[in-house]
Symmetry: C2
Subunit: 368 residues, 2 copies
């Protein structure tokens, strides 16, 4: 271990849980992680990214704090979630896309706030649906304020997001956001219909991932590009980058559900499966080893994580490795990242475009 790697290791070990991080800190943490894995170039680049986009994210957080979140129960529930950190990856995408153009101005800031609000709105409704006890390592809004407050809080954030996009006044963006949200609901609904059946195949998986997860990334990139005054071709390229990044992000999310650390994700392992959702690595493992189904069903039907014997867990974990499901999932995410990087090729070279490339590459590294 080099001196820098030891320092990075120490910083990682001593750091507070990721949920308490400021917006720039997420990037520092990711940089340390790359350092530790010997990815010195990526590590240094991430610190450059932090210096470039850190102030943008600080403005975002300051703006989020201006929401009147202290008044009513629904607003307090929304505020509790918003102030609890998160990676702020979607607003980061808005900021960087805007910086590919003329820069991160007040209009871009409002669009960055809007995308974060829509994302948090979906989390508030998802947590009610999944009866989730925690989110980002803290009690979920529904656990602290109740399901009703969490539902209204989601409704409110959605409306607040739309009001901000409306006020931003960029032609077409509000329509695109309305279509994006409708598409997200379609994806959520498709997932819901397949929930608990453990019958999802690859094709349906990607259809859900594109609708549910990738469309909002796509909008974030297009919104930033429009705010930055970029032309049609560049907006399309950045939007496509967003789609690819979003799908890769979802695949890595799936991998973290099976292999991530509780502290890093704020979630317990196999949480998706226990909610009846089949993730990509499990779909691939089932393709190759169909007799794994009873073990998966045992976890999917368990009321409590503790009800599942360690033997069952170990068997699935082994199968994920032995069948190559984990490796192939990571590869599939890698292809998406490669496709995302290709989308950037026609864009003006510069710090922001380089930063977007970095965001894509580091998505494969993330641990939370």
């Amino acid at each position: 271990m080099t001196v820098n790697q030891r320092k990075a290791q120490t910083r990682i070990e001593r750091a507070a849980p990721i949920v308490a991080d400021g917006p720039g800190e997420v990037l520092s943490r990711l940089s340390d992680m790359c350092e530790l894995r010997g990815l010195d170039g990526l590590s240094a680049d991430l610190l450059v990214l932090r210096d470039l986009a850190g102030p943008d994210l600080e403005r975002l957080v300051a703006e989020l704090e201006t929401l009147e979140v202290t008044e009513r129960l629904a607003q307090r529930a929304a505020g509790a979630l918003l102030s609890n950190g998160g990676k702020r990856l979607r607003p980061l995408c808005v900021a960087l896309a805007a910086r590919v153009g003329t820069g991160f101005d007040d209009v871009a800031l409002q669009l960055a706030v809007a995308v974060e609000l829509v994302h948090n709105a979906t989390l508030l409704h998802d947590d009610v649906i999944d009866l989730a006890p925690t989110r980002r390592g803290a009690p979920a809004a529904r656990a602290e304020f109740g399901n009703a407050a969490s539902i209204f809080a989601g409704d409110w954030l959605l409306i607040e997001a739309l009001r901000r996009v409306r006020r931003a006044g960029v032609p077409g963006l509000l329509d695109e956001l309305l279509e994006t949200i409708a598409e997200m609901i379609r994806g959520e609904s498709l997932q819901l219909e397949n929930r608990g059946r453990l019958a999802l195949d690859r094709q349906l998986y990607f259809e859900i991932a594109e609708s549910k997860s990738a469309t909002l990334f796509r909008w974030a990139l297009r919104a930033g590009a429009r705010a930055g005054g970029l032309g049609t071709a560049e907006c399309r390229a950045l939007g496509d980058y967003g789609t690819q990044l979003g799908v890769a992000f979802q695949i890595i999310d799936d991998l973290l559900d099976l292999t991530g650390e509780r502290q890093a994700t704020g979630k317990e392992l196999f949480a998706d499966l226990r909610e009846g959702k089949l993730t990509l690595p499990l779909i691939l493992a089932l393709e190759r080893q169909p007799d794994l189904r009873p073990a998966l069903e045992e976890i999917a039907s368990s009321a409590e994580a503790a009800d599942v014997g360690s033997g069952v867990r170990r068997r699935i974990a082994e199968a994920l490795v032995r069948t190559g499901a984990v490796r192939e999932s990571r590869e599939l995410a890698g292809y998406r990242i490669a496709a995302a990087l290709e989308c950037l090729e026609g864009l003006p070279a510069g710090d922001a475009t380089a930063a977007l490339a970095l965001v894509a590459r580091s998505t494969l590294m993330r641990e939370g």
Copy 2:
């Protein structure tokens, strides 16, 4: 009983439950009810209203059927609720306000659809929050399709409504609808905070009723007025009419919860109280007879309607009459209706304005 009253009585008794009615039928039913109560003038006027606005409501229902409600679970859940009738009172308000101006054209139709979608979105979310088993006399969407589908269905209807208002392209109306929905959420949240505490007073009651119920009526009237090309003063007058009508409507809703017939409302008696919501008649009764509180608490804390003894129900029913709470509630609704009628005074005289007056007066008559 006159011959016409006997005929009206027969029609009422033989009619199918209100949920299966076509849009014009609600008005025929109301007309029969007025006939039966000796309100012959009102009864005849309602048939005129049916002839005036019936075709508008037919167009509304045809347009609602064009929503792609067969595809996904969330859409099917939304479709099941939308096709289950309801009074269509908010779209009726849009249609009549438009007819005060230049008429009910395609733009007004889209706005009428939008207001009905927003209303149904709130019902879908409310039913999840209240764990309601039924809605409009049929199984609630959440009971048939699940809570998750019902939440997504509400989200989808909200977005679909906003898309239609956006496409209608009347300047300012989308902003007003976003503000209206935000205000509705504020009212819902205020109600939520006071739920189960049985500590609501008149002032808070009216604040909730104005936010939660009346703002959407206000928007419906303003939207119709704008689509009909009316000027600022007329839009304001119609909006104010909507606010007053909406509050009156909520008070009558409260009375029906205590005195209505299950068949007419599709709800069980004391349903609001069992959900921890204090209605206006109960607030007034408590003001005058504070020792009623334990009986109310018994109902509010009962898990099943059948758990409440008939003695407790009878005691509350008697107190509502003896304290004059029912009478005063009806009077307070009457004042609101009088105020609504006053708002109409400056408007162009004609069938549509007369019809709006009729809608206001018949609100006091409704039994479902």
